[in-house]
Amino acid sequence: MSKESKKANAPAGKPKKRMSKRDRERRRALLLSFLAGGATVGLALAGYYPIVTYARAENRLRPPGAIEEREFLASCIKCGQCVQVCPVEAIKLEDFTDGFSNGTPSIDARTQACDFSCDAVQCVLACPTGALTHEVSLKEQVRMGLAVLTRPDACLARKGLGFKGTARGDDFPGLHRYIKVDRWNPIRIADHPYDLELCDLCVRECPIKDAIHLEPLSKDPDDKRKTPVVTDKCVGCGFCEMICPTEPPAIEIIPRKTWGAAS
């Protein structure tokens, strides 16, 4: 803007005191600082949105030992040490798009569930802050969620059907430690085909004793149909969800759900 036009824009009759260059720069610096600081804080607060919408507690399966979600988000220092010790790499870190959950660990059970092949809840031992509580030392004490037969009509056992082949297809990269195959090292599920008269994969491969079993659907001895029944021993590791051969899975983990609580 030229000097003339500036003068023309100024209110007539009022001789306006001109600010020195330094003052103008200082004022602009202050204004920019407010803007930049405000924008940063504003963006930071926007991280609240994901955790009350798509990244809510019931949508996030946390690693073994995770304390109550709010406390978990507060105490997790977002370092990923739990990720590093997991032998089947079940634990992944959340990303920027998950808001305050950014950098915290979670498990996508269908892709790769925790199968406790580390034997001693290594992720809990790795956690420096107790966001995965050190009160848990045995896999049986873990409560991540609860297995629920969400699609009973899809369940092969309930149809009385067997299962032959690889549980999730030949290309599925998921791992599991089959103790009878290799005591120490997990192998690919795709390398371990099955031939079952009645599908009982969720029961057969469950890493927790007595957490799930099959019950006959009727008293008729000729009726082969059985249904999986989850007990209060279930820790919510998600292995049944991972191994379930139907697509989508008949059984799923509801994160944070406790046994006996209304759904």
């Binding site: 988000l73 977002k78 950098g103």
Partner: protein, 325 residues
């Protein structure tokens, strides 16, 4: 005017002040007076002219510093990718051959949000605090922070663009970092979430390198774009609470950049390359109140000023080491 208190005041955002007459030590006053004598002035002009005729750029510290940043971050990556378990975790918290390390600022955010003193964090932060206290505090920024390195590369580009008039360096008030520091501390305490951690470009970059969580790099990219075109070193200079936390540690560190008034020709080369030029305000003509001064709290010990200084007036100094030897 106490130099230490004043360096803290400047770190929190206060503008550098012209010292009072009574602030000068006798030696400093004499040196300043001597520098004003006609012979000395003539000598200074001659020296500067000589210097300008054969200007050399030195990278004697940077050639170590950049590899150090890369190496430290690479150790994290290698430890995980090849399961060597030297440094497990990320920059926010880690185990270094089994010992707990925790970033001071991350630990602070967690403690404020969780409202419990966690023993591992106490151990981790003590270790880290002592470590960075020894080597200079904000030296974390210049010698370890992966975002700092990205930002440095962008700064080189920014300066090239600015030369052509395609970029500008808008100044902010440095007090904004202090305000953000308090705001983020309060937010952690009030909301119970580690609000700052989700936008911390340091944590984001560190985790992106180690775990491949790349979405956050979009935010880092936005910051770098701001730094490229509008505000030189925007995040490190004006925003980052982590830098401030380490600046507190550095304010009492024995490892410092040392200023020698007698060698200085007051050309201002050092202030042009510095991330935090206010700490070098004492190198202006007539500002140093003592002949020998250790640079203030905010200094990152990046040694760019050492490289820029043509007369060797700035050097690394470890307090007390001269007495010990």
């Amino acid at each position: 005017m106490n130099l230490y208190i004043d360096s803290l005041r400047q770190m929190l955002g206060g503008a550098p002040r012209r010292p009072e007459k009574s602030d000068y030590s006798k030696e400093a006053a004499e040196l300043h007076a001597f520098k004003k004598t006609p012979e000395e002035r003539a000598r200074r002009r001659k020296l500067i002219a000589e210097e300008l005729s054969e200007k050399k750029t030195s990278y004697k510290w940077r050639k170590w510093r950049w590899p150090v940043i890369i190496l430290v971050n690479l150790i994290f990556v290698i430890s995980y990718q090849f399961d060597v378990q030297l440094v497990e975790g990320a920059l926010t918290a880690s185990r270094v051959v089994g010992f707990h390390f925790a970033d001071l600022n991350s630990a602070l955010q967690v403690t404020l949000a969780f409202k419990e003193m966690l023993i591992n964090l106490v151990i981790g932060t003590s270790t880290v605090a002592i470590l960075w206290w020894l080597v200079g505090g904000r030296s974390f920024c210049a010698w370890t922070c992966p975002y700092h390195l990205l930002s440095e590369w962008v700064e080189i580009l920014h300066l090239k663009l600015a030369e052509k008039g395609w970029a500008r360096d808008y100044q902010l008030h440095r007090g904004v970092r202090t305000v953000l520091y308090v705001v983020f501390a309060l937010l952690a305490f009030i909301t119970g979430y580690t609000v700052f951690e989700w936008i911390s470009p340091v944590g984001i970059t560190s985790r992106a390198l180690i775990y491949g969580t790349l979405a956050g790099m979009i935010w880092v990219g936005v910051l770098l774009l701001i730094e490229l075109f509008f505000i030189r070193r925007f995040w490190c200079r004006y925003m980052c609470p982590i830098g401030m936390t380490y600046a507190f540690v550095g304010s009492v560190s024995p490892t410092t950049i040392h200023y020698d008034l007698s060698k200085c020709l007051h050309e201002g080369e050092c202030r042009q390359v510095c991330l935090v030029p206010h700490v070098l305000e004492i190198t202006k003509k007539g500002r140093a109140t003592k002949p020998q001064i250790d640079i203030g709290a905010d200094c990152t010990r990046c040694a760019m000023c050492l490289e820029a200084c043509p007369t060797g007036a700035l050097s690394f100094r470890i307090k007390g080491l001269d007495k010990l030897l």
